[in-house]
């Protein structure tokens, strides 16, 4: 195939104008085309049909059924529903805590394995290992460890005299939310860690040496050299982690299903529950649309903020 292409291109070079700088934009568009087409085909149609759905009071969508009249009822219901506002609040809380957790744990592990010591290669592999555990499996294993009656974590905490009797982790809003945060952070931090490690490696060593000569202590070196140098890569990691937490379904669904009393019901969970649990697909679509708008705004703000490092 390469041969054909080469033949094609040599031949082209004499007559075909596409390679010429004047036609670069055409080439640029052609190269983007497959990505745009695929994205359009499998994203645009669902979005349009989701928008359409969100304006219909429809229970179950079915091919070939007559359509329902357009109405704002779903959105009206949504904005007056305390459940929706609670879910929005839970989502924001989870996004903030889980993202911060991922950043802190990611940064500290990255700095740790950036030190020079024997066995560093193995440590680097181990530190990012949870990344390679699929979400469904991660949820399953943590569920087993946090089991309220026979779980390992309760046993360890009781033995260490941190608690006097086992905690029913999934029966209280605070602990259930805590468990979700722990699992999200465990699954999400390795990505941040790997990205930040690369960032750390690209900071020139002489910067630190110069600072040391100037008498800067460890904290100041971290504050004035490490953090600023890492900020672009941190920005990207931040956006990706936030989007991931925002959209995640498997972990929360398998661990708590959104409960208890909605303490872990994020917008993604609420969308699914309304669509497949209660067959309010029109209503579910309206929740989904609001979620989409929120994440769009958040990403645009952040892309602006970090735009220098991306575009």
């Amino acid at each position: 195939m390469t041969e054909t292409m080469k033949a094609e291109s040599t031949q082209a070079h004499s007559r075909f104008s596409l390679w010429r700088p004047s036609n670069q934009s055409l080439l640029a568009y052609l190269l983007m085309l497959p990505a745009v087409l695929i994205t359009l085909a499998v994203i645009a149609y669902p979005i349009v049909s989701a928008i359409d759905l969100s304006f219909q009071e429809i229970k179950i969508v079915q091919v070939g059924r007559e359509r329902f009249p357009w109405t704002l009822a779903n959105y009206a219901h949504l904005f007056t529903s305390s459940e929706f506002w609670k879910a929005t609040w839970v989502t924001l809380k989870l996004v903030t805590i889980a993202t911060l957790g991922c950043l802190v744990l990611g940064l500290s592990t990255a700095m740790l394995v950036n030190q020079r010591f024997r066995g560093r290669t193995i440590a680097r592999i181990l530190v990012a290992l949870p990344w390679a555990v699929p979400s469904v499996m991660a949820a399953v294993i943590w569920w087993w460890m946090f089991d309220s009656s026979f779980g390992l974590i309760n046993w360890l905490l009781v033995k260490a005299h941190i608690i006097s009797s086992p905690i029913a982790w999934f029966s209280s809003p605070t602990t259930a939310f805590f468990v979700i945060c722990v699992v999200m952070i465990w699954k999400g931090y390795p990505f941040v860690s790997v990205m930040l490690l690369a960032g750390l490696q690209s900071i020139p060593g002489d910067l630190y040496e110069a600072a040391q000569i100037d008498g800067a202590n460890t904290w100041n070196r971290f504050r004035y050299i490490t953090l600023p140098s890492l900020s672009p890569v941190m920005g990207i990691a931040l956006i990706l982690v936030i989007l991931w937490v925002f959209r995640d379904f498997a972990i929360i669904w398998l661990l708590t299903g959104g409960g208890p009393i909605g303490a872990t019901r994020t917008l993604a969970i609420m969308t699914y529950e309304q669509a497949f649990g209660f067959y309010n697909m029109g209503y579910a679509a309206s929740i989904g649309m609001v979620t989409l708008v929120i994440s769009l705004i958040a990403s645009i703000v952040m892309i602006r903020r970090f735009s220098t490092s991306i575009y």
Binding site: V61, V63, N154, P166, G258, I261, F276
Partner: protein, 443 residues
């Protein structure tokens, strides 16, 4: 221009080549769909009837299904039944999606509390004409009235059950307790048998066992206490009846069991049954299917596990699961599906169901001679079934049939609220009454 087109084709070709090299070859064998229906005989390709169930690999009932499928296939050469398992916790979602997309199985297997939602959508064939022109007599067929939706018979009942209690005899003997026969004795026994056996602060043995995570099963477990006090979610007209004195008492009982941790918390029914089989739970009210789990316990636990009547005034009972026919398909396929339904509802297969599944079959008098060898507690099951039927108990509340999932969510959240915030049952009953009325008013 020509060159530009050529370049584009080249790029597309490159994509396709890569795609084809790596592609999903097994997809080839998956092209079977509805289209093959009528033309199947002409081309010699087999007709495929899809049959999705959660019972595929369940011991007992699963074997029964497989036996029926094998017999059906040998009686109908050129017809294949594709028997696929979908787990219970994702069953409704999957079936809904399949119906929505027109890809539903021809043979429709549903839990009876899910069935109204599908019947209400008009997805299921009216079976009345089919029953009429066949030998199937549905008189006295346990629970069959639950299959009538909007005046049509849209399904055949496969199981109508009553709860029994499995208890661990060894634990009772050790504590010098008698098997309870009412709620007070039951509560006392549950308290006495919930023990931290080695004094490490962690309870190792629980008095009772309930499913306490979200899902419809939560309501079934609560129902033990609800029917005990004579309460129910709705009245005879299907109107919400949650703030009655009986219901308040029942909610109080449920609160006690959970708050005192007399059951392991945050576990699903599968885990609870496993704990029973491991000898970590003293009492467990459950349906006749629990026999399969008891039989699978380690020998030393198996010896201890005994059956008794539930210690409540009436056992929980009701319809369990149904078989139905997809409406939107060819007459030829409908006839085949009906043949299959006739086969499994026939006298020999109903007797087999009792034997293999260890539960009373819905067909009247489908009791094989050797049932007591296979299922020693069979009489108990029949009594529980009749008692529940006489009291008119069902898991699916009248007037909430198509909103059962949402109703379940409301109840569960209010129960969690009651336990977490230690609210009095009266207050919770009032909130629940109001929320249920709102739910019903939305229709």
């Amino acid at each position: 221009m020509y060159k530009k087109v050529l370049l584009f084709i080249l790029l597309a070709g490159m994509l396709l080549t890569v795609a084809a090299c790596t592609g999903a070859q097994p997809a080839a064998d998956t092209a079977q769909t509805d289209g093959t229906g009528g033309a199947a005989d002409a081309t010699g390709a087999p007709i495929v009837l899809k049959f999705i169930s959660w019972q595929v690999d369940e011991s007992g009932v699963g074997d029964w299904w497989n036996k029926a499928i094998a017999e059906f296939e040998s009686a109908h050469p050129g017809v294949k039944i594709e028997f696929t398992k979908v787990g219970r916790d994702q069953y409704v979602d999957t079936m809904t999606t399949l119906f929505v997309s027109g890809d539903a199985p021809e043979i429709v297997h549903l839990a009876s509390f899910e069935y109204p939602q599908f019947a209400d959508q008009g997805w299921l064939e009216d079976l009345d004409p089919w029953v009429e022109q066949s030998d199937l007599d549905l008189n006295g067929w346990a629970g069959q009235e639950k299959c009538v939706w909007n005046g049509e018979t849209d399904c055949i009942m496969l199981l109508y059950f009553g709860f029994v209690m499995v208890y661990n005899q060894g634990m009772f003997e050790e504590a010098g307790l008698d098997v309870p026969t009412n709620y007070e004795e039951y509560l006392a026994a549950a308290r006495a048998l919930t023990k931290d056996t080695d004094g490490d602060g962690i309870i190792e043995q629980f008095g009772t066992g309930h499913h306490t995570v979200a899902g419809n099963q939560y309501l079934t477990e609560m129902l033990n206490y609800v029917v005990d006090t004579g309460a129910y979610w709705t009245d005879a007209e299907g109107k919400a009846a949650v703030n009655t004195p009986e219901m308040i008492e029942a909610l109080g009982h449920w609160k006690t069991i959970l708050q005192e941790n007399l059951t392991p918390l945050d576990l699903g029914a599968g885990d609870i049954r496993q704990l029973l089989a491991e000898g970590k739970i003293a009492m467990h009210p459950d349906g006749p299917w629990i026999w399969g789990i008891v039989k699978g316990a380690e020998p030393e636990v198996f010896e201890q596990l005994k059956f008794a009547r539930v210690p409540f005034t009436v056992p929980v009972g009701g319809s369990s699961n149904v078989i139905a026919m997809k409406k939107d398909m060819s007459q030829e396929k409908k006839e085949l599906v009906w043949d299959f339904i006739e086969l499994i509802t026939s006298q020999p297969y109903q007797e087999d169901f009792a034997l293999l599944g260890g539960m009373p079959a819905p067909r009247p008098n489908a009791v094989p001679a050797n049932i007591y060898e296979e299922v020693p507690h069979f009489d108990l099951l029949v009594e529980a079934q009749q008692e529940a039927a006489a009291a008119g108990i069902d898991r699916l509340p009248k007037g909430l049939e198509t909103d059962y999932n949402e109703f379940a969510k409301i109840v569960i959240e209010q129960m969690q609220n009651m336990i977490i915030n230690d609210l009095p049952p009266e207050e919770v009953a009032n909130t629940l009454q109001q929320l249920t009325e709102e739910l019903q008013a939305r229709e």
